[in-house]
Symmetry: C2
Subunit: 223 residues, 2 copies
């Protein structure tokens, strides 16, 4: 691991682990730069912060939509990982949900989805897989919470993910440096609402992700 091997042609071949490390550094740098500067952020700046050359960025991500998509996928996978860890490590179902919700705020899912989702094809197989991964990880948390009686039975996994994304979005129009100071308060209120022993009836029906995808994403079926 980490050593370079000579190819028959004499060039230096980077082992897969190095390539993967570069890829992760590009994605991490791109997350920061895209959230700061928006989807048109200069790729030069992303390469610079990742400590790689522009050519390395292009080798991993053939175009801007592919890079943007992979940044959101990384955040979704991280968020799914938080759900899986909380489920595995917290014996109490309500505490597992609480831990997940607060960690998900740190993964910047709300900010990233808001900033990046309009800028790539939502039918790309890797994005579809990441969405299913996140949904099933949160579904497992929600099911355990509802089975234990700690989580209100009338809430759907789509409700949890969409509320969480909305509450953790940056405030309108700015990079507000204070968002982190109050977002966890909001999540505490949300958790009290999700885990109340006396839930009020909920208005309407939970929305399915399929309906959201078809009707609420650019290029979706507006019918």
């Amino acid at each position: 691991m980490g050593t370079a091997a000579a190819t028959p042609g004499g060039a230096t071949r980077r082992p897969r682990a190095d390539a993967e490390r570069n890829r992760q550094r590009i994605v991490a740098a791109a997350l920061d730069v895209l959230l700061e500067h928006g989807p048109d952020a200069p790729l030069d700046e992303i390469a610079r912060r990742a400590g790689v050359g522009n050519a390395t960025v292009y080798r991993h991500f053939p175009d801007r939509p592919a890079l943007i998509r992979n940044v959101l996928i990384a955040v979704m996978d991280e968020t799914a990982g938080f759900a899986e860890e909380a489920l595995a490590e917290e014996p109490d179902a309500a505490q597992a949900l609480r831990r997940f919700v607060h960690q998900a705020a740190a993964s910047r899912l709300g900010a990233t989805a808001a900033a990046l989702k309009p800028w790539f094809d939502k039918d790309a197989p890797d994005y579809v897989a990441a969405r299913e991964h996140l949904n099933s990880a949160v579904q497992a948390l929600v099911e355990r919470g509802q089975d234990s009686g700690g989580l209100r039975p009338d809430i759907a996994v789509s409700d949890v993910i969409v509320i969480l994304s909305q509450l953790t979005r940056p405030l309108p129009g700015t990079d507000c440096p204070l968002t982190d100071r109050f977002v966890h308060r909001f999540l505490d209120v949300l958790l009290d609402g999700l885990c109340t022993p006396n839930p009020s009836p909920l208005s309407g029906e939970p929305i399915s992700f399929e309906a959201l995808r078809l009707r609420c994403e650019p290029g979706g079926d507006e019918a």
Copy 2:
């Protein structure tokens, strides 16, 4: 009301009530058009939907930021009015809060603030007055809720307004026609969290509007 009076020069002078009606039609049309097309929406389209000429738009609003600011002010005033009505008409404090929260979603405060707030001067006296009007109307609801024991004591009026704005924002990147179908579910969960008899400790401190204004709005002091 509604009749035109001849001026000494022979021109027709519109009475103030007509002017006010035109102004309201322009603001209502601008709200729809700005939310559909963003802050660069064509003024022609706004005038057309309001059923007035472009000159009438310019007579009421000398420039685009003034129009945008007045659209948000109208939404804030409408939202403040919902809070005042709920306080006056609902004998039960928790029910007053519930009614206000669901009505506020209909006023599109979250969508409007998100779309329009970055595009005008937040020190304009009429905007400052509208903000204070909204804050004090919600403050009265929150205080009555807390005095009655129905609303958790550790929540601040700024928390309520910011959570409400965040939960009622359109989903990222789209005009999602389904938002109205699930936003009231989210608000029901929020209300259960706000009115729980057994509140969990809230993380952090409530943020003051003054801090938000100074540090989180374009042109604010970033220090």
